[in-house]
């Protein structure tokens, strides 16, 4: 591996200043489970590596009923997965985070780092889309917030500017009791998802209220299925409606065929998995 200069700033301000100084030649290091590999394979050859793990403000997971969930930039998948409030209020996120790699990888790899790699197949992305996550970003010009669906811009591309870093994810508080489903198709354990889907639903007297649907590995970015959500919102929930939503989700995704499976298979699976995620959500709410 090529050598590099290593910095471990103690504050976000220092990190941004370093990124600004070494723009174009620096990479940000969180858990490193992806960055290390890409550097070893010489797919990335940064002159400077900026490790965020010594910045206390970026650590950990916090929850409050008013503000919802806050996932720090260096919080690992294991921290998110084992957090009591996440388990109570964001079940789909616990399920999704548990699918990432092995325990060793989850102890090290961060949720924010996974999103910043912007893989269309990132395991936690569909759940974070369904929960309407907002990405908090800081750079030389100050702070800004970007909805997660606008954060992803293409395979490996995000809304981050050259000297910006994600400081945290903000997941809104649950609106009463929410049902959810998360499903993922793959060849075997510890393998990239062929297709994944997540639905989060609130219902009042049998009528669908707030609903979020996220899809993985079926477009150049993780995708929020807004048309499928629109099919459901404000409508009385019925088996036929869930099927219609599945069809709508399949219609709005645009997968490719690759070595893992065909675009047709992926579209069919989006239909089936979306419908099953919605069924699971309805069962949790004691319906259908």
């Amino acid at each position: 591996m090529k050598n590099f200069e290593y910095f471990d700033p103690k504050t976000v301000r220092q990190a941004v200043r370093l990124l600004h100084t070494y723009q174009g030649t620096a990479k940000v290091l969180a858990g490193g489970t992806d960055l290390f590999l890409r550097m070893r394979h010489r797919a990335l050859l940064p002159d400077v590596v900026i490790d965020l793990k010594r910045i206390k403000a970026l650590a950990g997971v916090r929850y409050s009923s008013q503000k919802g969930l806050r996932i720090g930039a260096v919080a690992t998948h294991a921290e998110v997965e084992s957090h009591a409030a996440v388990q109570r209020h964001y079940g789909a996120l616990v399920e999704a985070a548990g699918w990432v790699g092995s325990a060793q990888t989850r102890h090290r790899g961060t949720v924010v780092g996974n999103l910043c790699n912007a893989s269309p197949a990132a395991d936690t992305a569909p759940a974070l889309l369904a929960y309407r996550t907002v990405v908090q970003i800081v750079g030389p010009e100050g702070e800004r917030q970007v909805p997660i669906e606008a954060f992803f811009q293409g395979p490996g591309r995000t809304a981050l500017g050259p000297a910006e870093v994600v400081t945290e994810l903000l997941v809104p508080p649950p609106q009463g009791k929410m049902g959810w489903g998360f499903l993922r198709r793959t060849r075997s354990a510890i393998d990239i998802a062929l297709v994944s889907a997540c639905a989060v639903v609130r219902a009042d007297n049998g009528v669908c209220g707030e609903v979020g649907i996220g899809l993985g590995a079926v477009a150049p970015t993780p995708l929020r299925a807004v048309r499928a959500e629109a099919v459901l919102r404000g409508q009385p929930l019925s088996p036929a409606l869930l099927e219609e939503a599945g069809k709508a989700a399949a219609a709005e995704c645009h997968p490719i065929s690759d070595v893992r499976c065909s675009a047709e298979y992926r579209k069919d699976m989006v239909d089936v998995l979306t419908c099953r995620c919605l069924q699971s959500a309805c069962h949790m709410l004691g319906m259908l």
Binding site: Y6, D8, L29, L37, D51, K53, S102, A103, T105, I190
Partner: protein, 156 residues
């Protein structure tokens, strides 16, 4: 340029001068000569390089040693007390959980992490617990039996 870091490994404090590109695995093996930790796939798939870092199992092949500056590491060499083997080490020997032995250090540390958090696992829990560690001899049945034996030997 080399940098000086401090590592506590198996309770012993080391100061070691390293290059930024060196992995924690390389430093353990090549600088500290603790060669119990193995390099398998170098991709975070096989778990042969598993160590405890501040109490959690990690793949040491995917961590820059600089990231571990000031941290506590436990390797397979840290499990035995003098000549007294750890119960998992004894059980792996007794039940034939060691074949070629290459996966064994990582496998035993993964098993220790499992039993530390769940002293009485089911077979499914055990298989899940070692799912980040591959045995290319495919001797999983005996490995699972060895771990089960240690779990059964502790008082419920």
């Amino acid at each position: 340029m080399k940098r000086l870091i401090t590592l506590t490994v198996n309770g012993n404090k080391y100061e070691v001068a390293i290059e930024p590109r060196q992995s924690l695995l390389q430093v353990l093996r090549e600088e500290l000569h603790l060669t119990g930790t193995k390099e398998g796939c170098s991709e975070g798939e096989c778990g042969a390089c598993t160590v405890f870092l501040d109490g959690q199992t990690v793949d040491s092949c995917l961590i820059f040693a600089l990231e571990a500056n000031g941290c506590e590491v436990v390797t397979i060499e840290g499990l035995a007390t003098g000549d007294i083997l750890h119960p998992l080490q004894n059980a792996f020997a007794e039940y034939g959980g060691v074949q070629c032995g290459f996966c064994t250090p990582g496998m035993i540390l993964a098993a220790k992490a499992l039993l530390d958090s769940n002293p009485h696992p089911t077979e499914a829990d055990i298989r899940q617990g070692i799912s980040g560690n591959l045995c290319r001899c495919t001797g999983y049945v005996k490995i699972v039996e060895a771990i089960q034996a240690v779990a059964n030997s502790t008082v419920r």
